[in-house]
């Protein structure tokens, strides 16, 4: 079987995608877990003219920087074509791979997150109510 790798963009026009990468996971609070679409994750700031960034997720603040990737990443899409074949009863399906984007940089956060609230009350006693539906979990 042979699968053609297609690219309709050519070298100069490949759309550039972005990656924001952090350690740990980001979780939505229970009411929001099934409805992530359109939810805000956090705010990305660039506080100076350097390539350093701050990402605030829930009550955590992460610091990181924009780094070029050592090797580019291509964003690939698997496309299934169903060919209606008039001469046979079977419809043959053909898979193609298409290059839909390229990634050359990522904004990487790998430092320990800084908690923006000074103290978390233990469960059962006074609980800090957090407005953000999305929290950082390290």
């Amino acid at each position: 079987m042979q699968i053609q790798v297609k690219c309709s963009c050519g070298e100069e026009n490949c759309p550039e995608w972005a990656i924001v990468e952090l350690q740990g996971t980001v979780e939505a609070q229970p009411p929001f877990q099934d409805r992530l679409q359109n939810l805000e994750i956090g705010v990305l700031c660039r506080p100076s003219s350097q390539e350093s960034y701050i990402f605030t997720v829930g009550y955590h603040e992460l610091t990181g920087s924009k780094v070029p990737l050592k090797k580019p990443l291509l964003v690939m899409k698997k496309v299934k074509h169903i060919d209606a074949d008039q001469s046979s009863e079977l419809n043959s399906s053909r898979v193609e791979l298409e290059v839909v984007g390229i990634i050359r940089h990522r904004i990487l956060f790998k430092t320990r997150p800084k908690a923006l609230i000074s103290r978390l009350q233990p469960l059962g006693k006074e609980r800090v109510s957090v407005q953000n539906p999305v929290l950082l979990n390290k």
Binding site: I3, N38, P72
Partner: protein
């Protein structure tokens, strides 16, 4: 306000942007990331790359001349993938947001679990050998191919066109072609065939007999004349041409005139040596050399070093015996190759071993590396020859 990758990558100093989940955020299993060496980028972006393999095999990615295994590398990080604006249709964001001030939101379409990466590998040519040996060309199945013309390729057993081989063998075009050449395969009626040894023997013998009859010099054979007599004797033209290519080399090519060929002494002598030992025969060295010298064409001289990588000698009592053991019968896969070599003989000296591994190519591994990886080396004394055995 809409923002995509470009808003993130182009984020200006002293500004900020909200990152949120795209209205179409989800698994998007049809999207994946592929890490590529910068040098391979032009090949991919100019559509010169394909994925090859059968359903039960791990896919390989092939450029025109190289083969790469495709491996998944996971990450424990959270990798938010942000496409350029509009790449996923209208982002229905902020339509019912409580925030009154419009803000730029860059939207995450997917969280990538990792990426695919490429590792250069040797082409998987053992399969090619296997496929072509299903139906070697023999004089009695010569016309099978012509009978089947016009019917579907799938109906024929062991008959493969180039396009069939590309679908089944995990190798780049250039490597596949080199593999065919290494097997001395010939394309007849669009099908790639290996020729049965006895059939090649027939063709060569007719060529040699006619050379004697017509007083042709084996160092300057006229291409048209040779092909003419072979065709008259019933051999198909492509096979006649193939015979010249396998046993000779072109001397001269003048436009308009027929090419001149010279038979290669080593290749012709080797052919006869293999014929004597065919069928697993073991012969005493002396009697083998006598037979061999009698069979080769006049004017040619047989030398034992011509049999490197084709024949092994064994000491039985005081006698030396020889038998056929051809590197071409061994797998390309290094682990399997060494396994078969050590099965044949538990200990090898370097001079004997070298001809049986010099065709091995593993990207990233030198021949010393190969030995280190697959053999155990011992050297009884500093002056003694090193011995290689199985690990």
């Amino acid at each position: 306000m809409e923002g995509g990758a470009e808003s993130v990558l182009g984020l200006q100093p002293y500004s900020s942007i909200s990152i949120g989940y795209h209205s179409s955020f989800g698994h998007h299993d049809d999207l994946f990331l592929l890490e590529l060496d910068q040098t391979l980028l032009p090949d991919v972006l100019h559509q010169r790359v394909t994925l090859r393999g059968q359903l039960n095999e791990d896919a390989v990615l092939c450029t025109e001349s190289n083969t790469y295994a495709v491996k998944f590398v996971g990450t424990s990080n959270t990798v938010f993938l942000i496409p350029p604006t509009d790449q996923f249709g209208q982002n229905a964001n902020n339509s019912d947001s409580k925030i009154s001030a419009p803000k730029v939101v860059a939207s995450v379409i997917k969280v990538a679990p990792g990426n695919m990466e490429l590792v250069e590998v040797s082409p998987r040519l053992d399969k090619l050998k296997f496929l072509l040996s299903e139906n070697p060309l023999r004089c009695d199945n010569l016309f099978e191919v012509e009978d089947f013309e016009g019917s579907e390729s799938n109906g024929k057993i062991g008959l493969y066109k180039w396009s069939d081989l590309v679908e089944r063998v995990q190798a780049s075009d250039a490597e596949l072609f080199a593999g065919l050449k290494a097997l001395s395969a010939v394309e007849i009626n669009g099908y790639w065939r290996v020729v049965d040894e006895k059939y090649m023997d027939e063709v060569l013998n007719v060529l040699l007999q006619n050379s004697v009859l017509n007083d042709w010099s084996l160092n300057s054979l006229n291409e048209d004349a040779v092909i003419g007599v072979l065709e008259t004797d019933g051999f198909p033209r492509p096979l006649a041409e193939h015979c010249l290519q396998v046993y000779g080399s072109k001397v001269d090519e003048e436009t308009g005139l027929s090419s001149v060929w010279k038979l290669d002494e080593k290749r012709v002598c080797l052919h006869f040596a293999k014929g004597i030992l065919r069928g697993g025969k073991k012969k005493k060295l002396e009697s083998f050399m006598d037979d061999w010298n009698r069979k080769i064409p006049d004017g040619m001289i047989a030398r034992f070093d011509m049999l490197e990588g084709e024949v092994l000698t064994e000491r039985i009592g005081v006698e030396k015996w020889v038998y056929a053991f051809s590197v071409s019968s061994l797998p390309y896969n290094p682990a399997e190759r060494f396994q078969m070599l050590f099965h044949e003989r538990p200990k090898w000296e370097w001079n004997d071993l070298q001809p049986y591994i010099k065709d091995l190519r593993v990207p990233g591994l030198s021949s010393e590396g190969l030995l280190l990886k697959y053999t155990r080396r011992s050297q009884p004394t500093a002056e003694a020859e090193p011995i290689f055995s199985s690990k």
